[in-house]
Symmetry: C3
Subunit: 266 residues, 3 copies
């Protein structure tokens, strides 16, 4: 698999896919910069007047409900419909689902009305959408969770016919059939805002160039995780770590991914 | 007092309070990251459909009118009402008050309709709200001001029954009765955008764990100021300073606060 | 000319002009910080209730359609009308024009209804507005372009009676009569999001203190480009480069600009 993912990464670097984001205003700059560092080209646009046309130029669509509002959700539905028509992948990051019924209903509506390719969340967010945990929240970054997450993710992926990514110390990637664990990453990724959003952007970049959403997701998470591991070396705190995270992502080579990826089939 | 504030900081680090922000899109990322670095957990949400529910999970509410609009002010009123019901503290940062009548009226409306716990602004902003200076503005970061600011702040705090924080070379903290001066900080804090907003976030983090708003505000300002002092060492310019500011805030220990705080009762 | 631009830069540093931005939420923080680093004071405000009043305090207005929406375009028209009345310069950055008809129509409407002082875009954006290229887009940062760009820019500047800036390896600045090439800069400026937006902010800062829009634009681009050249020294990747870019912009002196500017009349 490591040859496969390093080839994919080389393709990303060569093709420079355009990733359309409809995302929150807190981490939009981070998402734009990590998209560039990973090898893609970002565009952020959320006006209903233009989102569909923008999708026609794009190679993937990333939807993130970090700071949702009514008009933005409508734009996500419009853009997502066009993405489905154009057969480009949709990555959905249901930030904070379970915290408010508005977020839960918005994410549910996106899942119901669109064919989402990859759903990426933490254990709490995926648990809420899968119906396995109650709405419980401790910040949008950390959720309490119970039960066997791998099984939950697998069943949910099967039921919804999509690829589920559960971020954590070991990330779970499953389409209901295959299950991969990705063990790259570093605890310092949890000390800054936006690393979850950035991971979704990197997944979008890789999914733009690879139809196998399980492989694309695992490769993206491994790449981002390796950048995090390298960035932690010599970081004196969260922001020097963040600086290094972008630097390392940009300098990561396909062969580094082949060597450093810790992806294990279950 | 230094034992009291270092105990408070230890409590913050242990409890990791959730700080709900309704804030501007310019410095939202900085506010999220400084909240984490200070020991809290940030959530940004401003849709009227969800702000009240988000408050029920939160330990403090920070309202910042840096880029106000009609819907956002309505959401602040909704969230603030719920914060009052839930008896969690509200920190109001009336950015740019006095620059436009819209900002002045919006801030005034928030003060009138909500029970704000802590009002934090620079001398010009507080002066405008206190009625002691004319609407005068030179950028949102620097205001002309005249008169005895300590007295103005004290009288205003008394009249409005809240704690007033006036940021400056020496920060003034007063509830109308007690007056504390906080002399931590560094001039480089004035060379980047968003340090005023970040200070309000840190105050929110400390106020979430301490009912005495005067102590919470002074402790937060001292902690943020010490981080600024340390960050200035070796900074080559405003952005390497900013990087170090987050790093230093994250590595600051309760005992550092006890030793480094320069808080003087008046 | 180098004495003229270093005198201008000294004036900027002394006067600290207030630059009102109506801009996108992705790079707003970068624009605020580069404005400060260049010697200005930023204010971001986009509510229709306050934009006109904010303009009365401001020394230049920067309009950027990176994440446009209906209300924001209306606010740009309101603020721009007031800027014209007050005779302060307007810098328009038509981000992504040509990507969607909504962006093209919005930019066209701003050009039609306002007297824009300086229009700054990349070759694709200017080409689309000048009618010399078809709507073609590859990310908002890179456009395909054909034809003699200098001639296109010159004719367009003449027709529209404004100063046109075409960013590129060599930037073109022309009012239809004079043509300047600015050859400062570094390829690393292309590896981060927002450098185009930042360049427009710096142009706003310089145009606030210099009525000759050709000189102001060239001086600003040279200053920003020199900061980029210096920042590239020792940068380990895009984000350490970005950190250094702000640091270098802040420490740049008028005499550095006189020595380092590579501005050539055509």
């Amino acid at each position: 698999m490591n040859t496969q993912i390093s080839d994919l990464f080389a393709r990303v670097r060569e093709k420079r896919p355009l990733i359309h984001h409809i995302t929150n205003y807190v981490t939009a700059n981070d998402c734009a910069n990590i998209t560039i560092a990973a090898g893609g080209s970002p565009v952020m646009a959320d006006a209903p007047e233009e989102v569909c046309e923008m999708v026609t130029f794009s190679n993937a669509l990333v939807l993130n409900i970090g700071t949702p509002n009514k008009e933005q959700i409508e734009s996500m539905l419009l853009a997502g419909g066009m993405a489905n028509d154009q057969r480009i992948p949709i990555v959905l990051d249901p930030v904070g689902v379970g915290a408010t019924s508005y977020r839960t209903e918005s994410a549910q509506r996106l899942l119901d009305e669109l064919k989402v390719t990859i759903l990426k969340g933490n254990a709490g967010e995926i648990g809420v959408l899968a119906g396995s945990v109650e709405a419980y929240m401790r910040g949008v970054d950390s959720h309490g969770v119970s039960g066997d997450m791998v099984k939950t993710a697998q069943q949910f992926a099967n039921r919804e016919s999509l690829t589920v990514v559960v971020s954590g110390a070991a990330d779970i990637v499953t389409d209901g059939n295959r299950i991969l664990l990705v063990e790259n990453g570093h605890p310092m990724l949890g000390n800054i805002s936006g690393t979850g959003c950035m991971a979704a952007s990197v997944i979008g970049v890789f999914a733009a160039e690879e139809n196998d959403a399980v492989i694309a997701s695992a490769a993206a998470l491994a790449a981002f995780g390796i950048a995090g591991e390298r960035a932690a070396d010599g970081a004196r705190g969260p922001f020097s770590f963040k600086t290094a995270l972008f630097d390392e992502m940009a300098s990561l080579k396909p062969e580094d991914l082949a060597v450093g990826a810790r992806i294990t089939p279950q």
